[in-house]
């Protein structure tokens, strides 16, 4: 899944099987302030065409604001932003003609039926009605909603609405798709259907920009991602790179019981690279989790339960953005 990562090589043209890919998003010192509050604090990044690029971060980190600036529906306070070579503020309608947008909350047109939602949305892009009729049927098929074509929007389930929103965002055959938390609130089946659809788009060469706070989603979908917190970029790279850089290969989770966890920690000194004490368990970051567990048992400590797992983006995320609840 992650073999397609562009690696750490910087610069606009990353060599791939399809040759050099031009940059489609270029942000430099991008800043957005609302009064005293700085939502996005001078971030810089570039995205080559066809990449699947993720923005990760806790709530309020500035992900959605960044997405809105890319779409030209939020005006930056300072910095530079180019989408396909254009400033989205000055050329909003033209830039958005090449974008597909899946907002955080579905905002389908409830006064129109399912298929009409697609057609009318296409008309907003000035597209021809004949093209739209065919395209709408194709997208209904893609979204597995063909038999709901004439249903009312409020009769759809959450997963169906989400799929319709994604289908709608594709009506203008966008080169770039902005997905703001595409699977939040969906059940596991619906998420997997959606991921599958997004994979297909990626295979067709659509650039995907997505925000999420599901780490598994980021690992599944993103070639490269930035972790943002308090409007700043904390880390940048492919999921595998980030795990390598900010976590160990494996994580050992041991439980000694809620009362004892904290007391045991000093006795673990020297085992693994780093420890993290959670209320219910201790995380031991180690290259070899089994070896670490043996060492712990060797010191006469007997955890109630233990689990060795590979490091995930979640460990990176928590390491970078802290465990305290950010609101």
């Amino acid at each position: 899944m992650l073999q397609n990562t562009p690696g750490s090589e910087p610069g606009p043209s990353l060599p791939t099987a399809r040759g050099a890919r031009p940059t489609v998003i270029r942000a430099r010192g991008l800043t957005k302030r609302y009064g005293d509050f700085t939502a996005v604090d001078g971030i810089s990044f570039e995205v080559p065409a066809g990449e699947s690029f993720g923005l990760l971060g806790p709530n309020g980190a500035g992900k959605s604001t960044t997405m809105r600036m890319i779409g030209g529906v939020s005006q930056r306070t300072s910095g530079e932003l180019e989408i396909m070579g254009l400033d989205p503020e000055a050329q909003g309608p033209l830039v958005r003609a090449h974008l597909g947008v899946v907002p955080q909350q579905d905002n389908l047109d409830e006064e129109l039926r399912v298929r009409d939602n697609l057609i009318v949305y296409g008309r907003y892009f000035g597209l021809d009605r004949r093209y739209l009729r065919a395209k709408a049927d194709q997208l209904l098929d893609f979204a597995q909603l063909t038999d709901k074509a004439n249903a009312r929007v409020d009769d759809l389930s959450g997963g169906m609405k989400r799929r319709l929103t994604i289908a709608r965002s594709l009506i203008n055959e966008p080169q770039m798709l902005l997905l703001d938390e595409p699977t939040t609130g969906l059940d596991p089946q619906a998420r997997h259907v959606l991921w599958d659809r997004l994979f297909r788009l990626k295979e067709q060469g659509v650039t995907l920009i997505l925000t999420t706070h599901y780490m598994d989603e980021a690992e599944q979908l993103c070639d490269r991602l930035i972790v943002v917190d308090h409007g700043r970029i904390m880390a940048e790279g492919s999921p595998a790179e980030l795990i390598r850089r900010y976590s160990t290969r494996e994580v050992l989770e041991v439980r000694f019981g809620t009362d004892r966890n904290a007391a045991v920690v000093p006795q673990l000194a020297g085992i693994g690279e780093r420890h993290e004490v959670l209320p219910d368990r201790i995380l031991v970051y180690a290259h070899d989790g089994e070896a670490a567990l043996e060492a712990i048992v060797g010191r006469g400590l007997h955890p109630l339960t233990s689990l060795v797992r590979r490091s995930s983006l979640e460990d990176v995320f928590l390491n970078l953005t802290g465990r305290s609840l950010v609101e």
């Binding site: 031009p22 940059t23 489609v24 065409a49 066809g50 779409g71 030209g72 529906v73 939020s74 005006q75 396909m84 070579g85 254009l86 503020e89 000055a90 050329q91 909003g92 309608p93 033209l94 830039v95 958005r96 003609a97 090449h98 947008v101 907002p103 905002n107 047109d109 409830e110 006064e111 129109l112 009409d116 009318v120 949305y121 008309r123 907003y124 892009f125 000035g126 203008n172 055959e173 966008p174 080169q175 788009l201 067709q204 060469g205 659509v206």
Partner: protein
């Protein structure tokens, strides 16, 4: 699926960030949504002025007898108030759409936010929605025109000019109405609109001449939009053309321009921050 053009040519259209030349798509959407609308609401807005015409013109009219119309000509009371009610129905239709319906789309269905995430600009959205409101005013006015002629209240071909005049009146109220609605945040704010419209309807020389008021109040009423509509319609109904008509028309032209500029600026401020 896509040809990957990574660099786009900038658009040279003036106001490229505000306008995409696609007002039609907004209007189409409105007409499609109308199919699912409640037609009873639509009809009720038209019935109101007809009831007034029936009650005042047919009921009260004979008691009053002839009144002095534009240019000093004598006319029946029904013929005197009918053009004024035509202006009122154009206003009602336009205001209903540009306040209640616009408010819902603005604050609840998030329709405009949705539209502005496509290649539509705020000017497209403003013009399209204002057109829809204007259209409702036009339909109400035309229907009332038919009622008037069936009652024998249309006496000169010049009176047909009341139809385009009704479009202008509706355009003015629709444009300014939508601009004002964009500032509203709660349902209660919509009540203020009705609170302002009712006295304007009653006192804008609709049912009796302006001359009954002292000068100060006359000037105040002459500053309000409905009075210009009433005067315009009443003069056209008898084919009495004076330079004053140009003044009334100009008033609405300014109102339209101000409304479109205000609405566009507000949509931009609300959704393209």
């Amino acid at each position: 699926m896509t040809q990957q053009t990574s660099v786009l040519e900038p658009s040279r259209r003036p106001f490229a960030g505000l306008y995409a030349g696609n007002v039609r798509a907004v209007v189409e959407r409105g007409l499609m949504a109308l199919k699912t609308n409640n037609w009873a609401v639509f009809v009720s807005g038209f019935v109101e002025p007809v009831l007034f015409l029936a009650a005042m013109g047919i009921g009260l009219g004979p008691l009053i007898g002839g009144v002095e119309g534009p240019g000093g000509s004598e006319m029946s009371y029904g013929a005197y108030i009918a053009p004024a009610l035509l202006a009122v129905s154009a206003m009602n239709g336009a205001v209903y759409d540009s306040t209640n319906n616009v408010f819902f789309k603005l604050r609840f269905s998030k329709l405009y936010q949705n539209m502005l995430y496509t290649s539509l600009g705020p000017l497209d959205v403003a013009m399209g929605e204002i057109y829809l409101a204007l259209q409702r005013g036009f339909l109400y006015a035309t229907a009332l025109m038919v009622v008037m002629s069936s009652l024998g209240l249309v006496t000169t071909p010049a009176a047909l000019l009341m139809v385009p005049a009704a479009v202008l009146v509706a355009f003015g109220f629709a444009a300014l109405g939508m601009g004002i609605t964009s500032f509203m945040k709660r349902f209660q704010h919509l009540d203020w609109v009705n609170f302002a419209l009712l006295p304007m309807f009653l006192f804008s020389a609709t049912l009796y001449p302006l001359s009954v008021y002292p000068t100060g109040i006359q000037l105040f009423i002459q500053a309000l939009p409905l009075w210009h509509g009433v005067e315009l319609m009443r003069s056209l109904s008898v084919g009495y053309f004076t330079p004053a008509l140009l003044g009334h028309v100009s008033y609405y032209v300014v109102m339209v321009l101000a409304g479109v500029v205000l609405t566009t600026a507000r949509l931009r401020a609300l959704f393209l921050r």
